[in-house]
């Protein structure tokens, strides 16, 4: 410490401001990197197909139009009909996955946090380890399994798969949360005559609500954005979810960039809004679950 003091003492004035400016410039650059693609998506989506395909580009659309959005949201034409159906499919699959994930992850995480049963660590590691393996490894056998179960081309195949693939991180996040809730609180309730279940519902559930919300957002966003299983398990047009639907749209309209950008925007909007509304829970869950050990 003394040597450090000696070295720094002479320039005690304002060495700090340099770093503040470095920080500011860095943030501006990061803002450009993150925001410019999104702004360009929005600007393109309000151009006509002709206006988008120009060089040099119209930086600001000369004649802004909402035609692409109208087309996507109009159930009377085939494009709008498809888009709305994909949207609905995505909503259904993601919601079902989220509800099931919470129902399955909560008791498992609680048990991993509170109980000492033989094989507990082994099972917990097995759950974590799953997260390491890419979807592709499981794709062929799962495809065969789904064919066997008669689930190909059903939303059930996706819900079942997303559930498993989302569980490890959900359990891990929630377990961190339960680890931080004092055990005495439950013990006190049980001494007062509550059953373990009642103690859990009355004490642990409310305290872990932020963790559960975080787990739910995580499952929902994961299911909403998932592509590879949906791409493999579904091939009937009326069953597709948005990511695959948009890909199909693009392969049929390879030059309709305004339409593609409008679809990308509409697809991202729900999860971005959801996340921004609930992000503090998510950040808190990460702090409690992952970081604060």
């Amino acid at each position: 410490m003394t040597s450090m003091t000696n070295r720094v003492a002479p320039r005690k004035g304002k060495p700090l401001d340099v770093w503040r400016w470095v920080g500011r410039i860095f943030l501006v650059l990061m803002l450009l990197y993150t925001a410019v693609p999104m702004i360009w998506m929005l600007l393109t989506s309000i151009k006509s197909g002709f206006a988008a395909m120009q060089f040099p580009p119209q930086w600001w659309p000369n004649e802004p139009t909402l035609a692409s959005y109208q087309r996507l949201l109009d159930p009377t034409n085939s494009v709008g009909q498809d888009f709305l159906r994909f949207f609905w499919n995505s909503l259904f699959v993601s919601t079902a996955t989220t509800i099931l994930a919470v129902i399955v992850a909560v008791p498992a995480a609680y048990a991993f946090s509170r109980f000492e049963f033989p094989g507990r660590n082994f099972l917990f590691f097995a759950v974590l380890l799953r997260n390491m393996f890419p979807a592709v490894i499981f794709l062929v056998p799962l495809f065969i399994l789904m064919r066997l179960l008669g689930l190909v081309n059903t939303h059930g195949s996706l819900i079942l798969t997303y559930l498993t693939f989302g569980l490890p991180l959900a359990i891990w996040l929630l377990k961190g949360f339960y680890d931080n809730i004092p055990y005495q609180l439950e013990q006190a309730a049980r001494i007062d005559g509550a059953t373990r279940f009642k103690a859990f519902m009355l004490i642990v559930m409310p305290l872990s609500a932020p963790g559960i919300i975080a787990t739910a957002i995580y499952s929902f966003i994961g299911a909403w954005n998932e592509y590879i299983f949906a791409y493999t398990f579904l091939n009937r047009n009326d069953k597709l979810t948005l990511p695959v639907g948009i890909q199909r749209f693009f392969s049929e309209n390879t030059t309709d960039f305004p339409g593609l950008m409008a679809a990308s925007f509409m697809m991202s909007l729900p999860v971005v809004v959801l996340f921004l509304l609930l992000q503090r829970y998510f950040v808190r869950a990460l702090t409690e679950g992952a970081v604060k050990h």
């Binding site: 005690k12 990061m30 993150t34 360009w40 950008m261 990460l286 050990h293």
Partner: protein, 319 residues
């Protein structure tokens, strides 16, 4: 708080030691009910596929995946893979992709977290904007960037030409030499916010007093970062880097949607290559053998992964 749970656990553990393992499992049988649904789902969707993949890797299966007609070929699929040129190309690509995606995501995430740590007007909005790419679907992100990189009408090409830095708009993703870096830029765009969130959470664990004490002692901003802040971030950093590395190694959507692995395999990584072998060229046996190799590689790294992710657990238990 944690010590209290730790104490309760320690008491339980001492009690448990006195009983035999089977008796213990029996007396605590109700506990398994809590984890049963999770384990059951994982068994069906994970254990079974692993078994199946290993099995299929020893067979040649007809394109339509009629399992009745598969032919046992022993280790031939593995011999074919290790003798091919593509495997090395794809491996090099995967290493470049994983390494640079992870390093840049972490570095930009750390920089953003530090820059956003101090309070200033508009900090919340700034943080929200920087997080958005992480939530945007990878498919949408791929199309947005595909449009930005477009070789005729892309906005980056137009800016470069406008500034006189290039005569024509460059072929970012249609050229063998630039495709991989261009895709890494897209991947980092989506991944750095994750590192940022994790590290922002980590920064909150750095004790204010220590920083103030260091400042009073005359430590420069850099010295305070290096000697006080950074040591506190070590745990989070390890976990973040591991999670980033695993998710980058396993990426599929960005290369698949943007280039499909092309041009001439320049952006094929292991995962996209396996997918193409299986569902594109219907070479199920070879694809399964690839998966098994991948599985073995990941398993050998899994030890470190699990250790880092459960380190808090170990510390608490004094193991």
């Amino acid at each position: 708080m944690t010590t209290a749970t730790g104490l309760a656990d320690a008491r339980l553990r001492k009690k448990a030691k006195r009983e035999g393992i089977l008796q213990q499992a029996w007396t605590r049988r109700a506990d398994y009910l809590y984890v049963l649904p999770a384990i059951l789902v994982m068994l069906v969707v994970i254990a079974y596929p692993i078994y199946y993949t290993v099995d299929l890797s020893f067979f040649n299966t007809p394109p339509g995946l009629q399992l009745r007609d598969k032919v046992f070929v022993g280790l031939n699929n593995y011999v074919v893979i290790l003798g091919s040129d593509v495997v090395w190309r794809v491996t090099v690509n995967t290493v470049i992709w994983t390494f640079f995606s992870t390093v840049f995501s972490f570095a930009l995430g750390l920089g953003s977290a530090l820059a956003l740590h101090r309070d200033f007007a508009g900090r919340g909005v700034m943080r929200a904007i920087l997080i958005i790419p992480w939530v945007v679907s990878a498919v949408a992100a791929s199309y947005i960037w595909k449009w930005i990189y477009h070789s005729d009408f892309g906005v980056i090409g137009a800016v470069l030409v406008g500034l006189g830095l290039a005569a024509h708009p460059p072929n970012f993703i249609d050229s063998v030499s630039t495709v991989l870096p261009s895709l890494i830029v897209v991947n980092v765009w989506r991944e750095f916010p994750f590192a940022m969130i994790m590290l922002m959470a980590g920064l909150q664990t750095v004790p204010e007093q220590l920083l103030r004490a260091a400042k009073v002692d005359g430590a420069s901003a850099w010295q305070r970062f290096w000697h006080v802040t950074f040591p506190h971030l070590r745990g989070v950093s390890t976990v973040t880097i591991l999670l980033l590395a695993v998710s980058n190694f396993n990426s599929f959507i960005i290369p698949w949607i943007m280039t499909g692995g092309g041009p001439s395999n320049a952006s094929h990584i292991w995962i996209t290559h396996i997918y193409e072998l299986a569902f594109g060229r219907q070479r199920w046996g070879i694809a399964s053998a690839y998966s098994v190799l991948l599985f073995l590689i990941l398993m050998s790294l899994g030890y470190f992964y699990v250790r880092a992710l459960s380190s808090g657990d170990r510390k608490e238990r004094g193991a």
